[in-house]
Symmetry: C2
C-alpha cells in the first residue's frame, strides 16, 4: 500500500467523527506495521480522546517498528482537555509519523513535527494534503481568519422563490432534503442565524431533529427592534439564543438563555462582519444562515459566505410578489458583471429535489 492509499484510509476513519466531534476538527489515524494496517482511530466526540490515542489503544500502546498515519499534525499543547499526542508518540516511539497537513493554528503549526523530529522519529508531511484539509474547512477558516465558517441554506422553487406572495412557505422542500439539512448542516453548525421576519412569520424551532448530537446549536436572530416574541419556539430548546438589536431597542422579558447583543446600525442593516466577529468571540466556530431573502442578501453582497446550499423543489411559484431566496436593495449593484459570481461545486439528488452546492469564487 502506498502512503496515499493509507492516508485515504485515515481520512475515511476521520469522517466517522461526524458530527459529534464538532466543533473540534475531524481527525483520523491509521497504524501500519510490516505493510499491514494494525489499528485505526478517530476523534469521536468533542473533548474526547484524539485519533492517535484511540488508534494506539487498539495496538495495546505498542508502536515499535510501526508507522503512524494521521490526517493532521499531532497536538503538542498542554493547555487542553487531553494530554498532548506528541507525548504519547515520544513514549511509544513509532519508526515514522506520516502527516496529512500541519495544524493550521499558527500557535501550533509545525511544533508537533519539530518535537517528533528532535526525538529522532522520522516525519513525512503533506500526503493527500488537500483532502485532509477538506475534512475541516471550518477549522482552517477559524484559524486563518478568526471568523466562523459560513454556510447559507435556501430551499426554493425552480424560479427562486422561498414563499408565495402571502408568505406561505412550509414544506417547499422534500422530506429527504429536510433530513439532509438536519444531518449535514444543522448538526454540524455552532449557530443558526435567521432574520426576525422568518421568526415571526414561520416560528421555526431551528433545532436538530433525529440526529445524535452533543447539544443543540445556538440561534442568532438579526432583530434590530427586538420584535422576536417571548413565545417564539426557538426559545424552547436548551441552548443560547442571541438577539442582535439596536442600542435603543426596548428589551422584553426574555427567558434566561437569551443574550441580547446591542450594535449600531449602518446603512440598511447591521454590518454582517460585526455580527460574525461577535459570535466568534462567544465561541461560535461555524454558522448556518437560514434566513429569508434579505438576510441571505446581506451575507452575499458582503461576500461573507463560504458555501451556499440551494435546495430546489420541482415547483414553480409565480406570483409577482412571491418572496425571492436572495434580495437586496436596488441601490446595490455588483462591481462587475450582472450578479455576484459563485463557484459551482457539487450537485445531489434528494428525492424529487436537487441540492446545488456553490462555493466562493
Amino acid at each position: 500500500m502506498t502512503d496515499e492509499e493509507i492516508m485515504a484510509e485515515a481520512i475515511r476513519e476521520a469522517k466517522k467523527g461526524f458530527p459529534l466531534a464538532f466543533p473540534n476538527p475531524l481527525v483520523g489515524c491509521v497504524v501500519v506495521r510490516n505493510g499491514k494496517i494494525i489499528a485505526r482511530g478517530h476523534h469521536a466526540f468533542f473533548g474526547g480522546p484524539h485519533a492517535e490515542v484511540n488508534a494506539a489503544k487498539k495496538c495495546s500502546y505498542n508502536l515499535r517498528n510501526a508507522s503512524v498515519y494521521v490526517t493532521m499534525e499531532p497536538c503538542s499543547s498542554r493547555a487542553k482537555k487531553t494530554p498532548p499526542c506528541t507525548d504519547l508518540l515520544l513514549s511509544l516511539r513509532p519508526e515514522k509519523v506520516i502527516i496529512g497537513d500541519l495544524d493550521p493554528n499558527p500557535i501550533h503549526n509545525g511544533r508537533g513535527v519539530e518535537i517528533l523530529r528532535k526525538s529522532g522519529i522520522k516525519v513525512k508531511i503533506g500526503v493527500l494534503k488537500k483532502e485532509c484539509q477538506n475534512l475541516n474547512p471550518a477549522f482552517y477558516k477559524n484559524m486563518k481568519e478568526k471568523l466562523p465558517y459560513i454556510i447559507l441554506k435556501m430551499a426554493q422553487s425552480i424560479n427562486g422563490k422561498i414563499a408565495d406572495n402571502r408568505g406561505n412557505s412550509k414544506w417547499i422542500s422534500s422530506e429527504k432534503s429536510r433530513e439532509y439539512s438536519h444531518k449535514f448542516l444543522r448538526a454540524a453548525c455552532g449557530c443558526i442565524i435567521s432574520g426576525v421576519e422568518t421568526i415571526i412569520k414561520d416560528d421555526p424551532e431551528l433545532t436538530v431533529r433525529n440526529v445524535k448530537i452533543q447539544s443543540q446549536p445556538a440561534v442568532c436572530v438579526i432583530d434590530p427592534n427586538l420584535r422576536t416574541p417571548i413565545s417564539a419556539r426557538i426559545f424552547k430548546a436548551k441552548r443560547t439564543v442571541y438577539l442582535i438589536s439596536l442600542y435603543n431597542a426596548k428589551n422584553k422579558n426574555y427567558p434566561e438563555n437569551v443574550s441580547v447583543i446591542r450594535m449600531g446600525k449602518k446603512e440598511d442593516g447591521f454590518q454582517i462582519i460585526d455580527i460574525l466577529k461577535t459570535l466568534y468571540e462567544k465561541g461560535i466556530r461555524s454558522v448556518l444562515v437560514e434566513g429569508g431573502g434579505k438576510t441571505h442578501g446581506q451575507f452575499i453582497r458582503s461576500g461573507l459566505f463560504d458555501k451556499i446550499f440551494v435546495f430546489i423543489s420541482p415547483m414553480i411559484i409565480g406570483q409577482e410578489n412571491a418572496i425571492s431566496s436572495v434580495s437586496w436593495t436596488d441601490r446595490f449593484s455588483p462591481k462587475k458583471g450582472l450578479g455576484i459570481a459563485v463557484k459551482p461545486e457539487d450537485i445531489k439528488s434528494l428525492g424529487p429535489d436537487l441540492l446545488l452546492i456553490y462555493g466562493k469564487k
Copy 2:
C-alpha cells in the same frame, strides 16, 4: 442478438436524423440476415427518403430471408412526397418486420401493419416501444392533441432572475449553454415564441447559429399593441414572423414576411391555447418559448408546456426589482399546494452552468 438489442441499434440510427429530419419524425431502420446486421438507414432530412428506403438501398433492395427492424410503423399513405414504404416492403418481401411502435397518426395507425400481414409478411409490434416513442415526443403530441409540442427555455441566476433591476440580461448563461440551446432547442423547433417586452428590450435575432438546419424557425411575438419595431432584428432572417395582436392594434409598415394575427383579449393576456391552435393550423409542430417571466408565467399557469429547460448560471442577482424567470399576477394561485408542481427529468452540466430539465406532472 435479441430483438431489443437490434431495435436499440435502429434507435441509434434514427437519432442521426437530428435535426434535419424535423418536423418529420426521427425514424431508424436496421436489416438483419442470418443474425447479422447487413444494413442501416434513417430518415435523414425533411421530405427526403424514409429510413426503410435508405436501409434497403444498402442491401441492393434484396430483403429475402431478412428481418427489417424499424422504430415506427412503415408508412402506407399515398398522399405524401414519397411513395409508401409498405409498397417497398411488399415488393422486397422480407421474412419479418419488427416495429417499435405504431404510427400515432390515427389515420395511419395500424394500417401499415395490416397491409404487411395481409400479404403474408410476419409482423411483431412493440419492441422498445417506450424508447421508440421517446424519439419523437412532438410528433406523438401533434397526432394526439393537434397542438404544437411546447418547450419553455429560461436562462437564470441561481435565485431565479433573468435580468437585473434595470433589465440587463445579456450573457447570463455560458457559451456552452448557448451552444446547447442553438443545437438542441432552437434547431429542432418550428417556431420561437417571445414576448414583445423581450423584443424591445433585448432585440434578439432569435435565429439558429452554427448548426446546419433546413430553414430558420419561425418567430411568434405576443404583442397586443403591435409595439414590435420595424427595425427589430427578428425580421432579418428569411422566415415567417407572426405578431399576435389585438383587433384594434394599429398596424405598422412591417416587412413582407410578417403575418399579423388578430385575437381577442381576455383577462390579463391572450389565451395561450388560442395562440397555439393558430400556430398549429399554420403548420407549426413545436414551439420554443423564450420569453420573459410574464410569457413563461402565462404558459405555466395555463398548464401549456411539455418541457421546461432551466439553465442556471453560477451567479446571484439580488436587486429587489430584478426580473424573475417566471411571474404571473398575484391574483392567480395554484389550486393545490404552494406552486405548480413539475416532474424532474434530467440534469446536465454545461461548462459552469447547470441545465435542469423538467416535464409535466
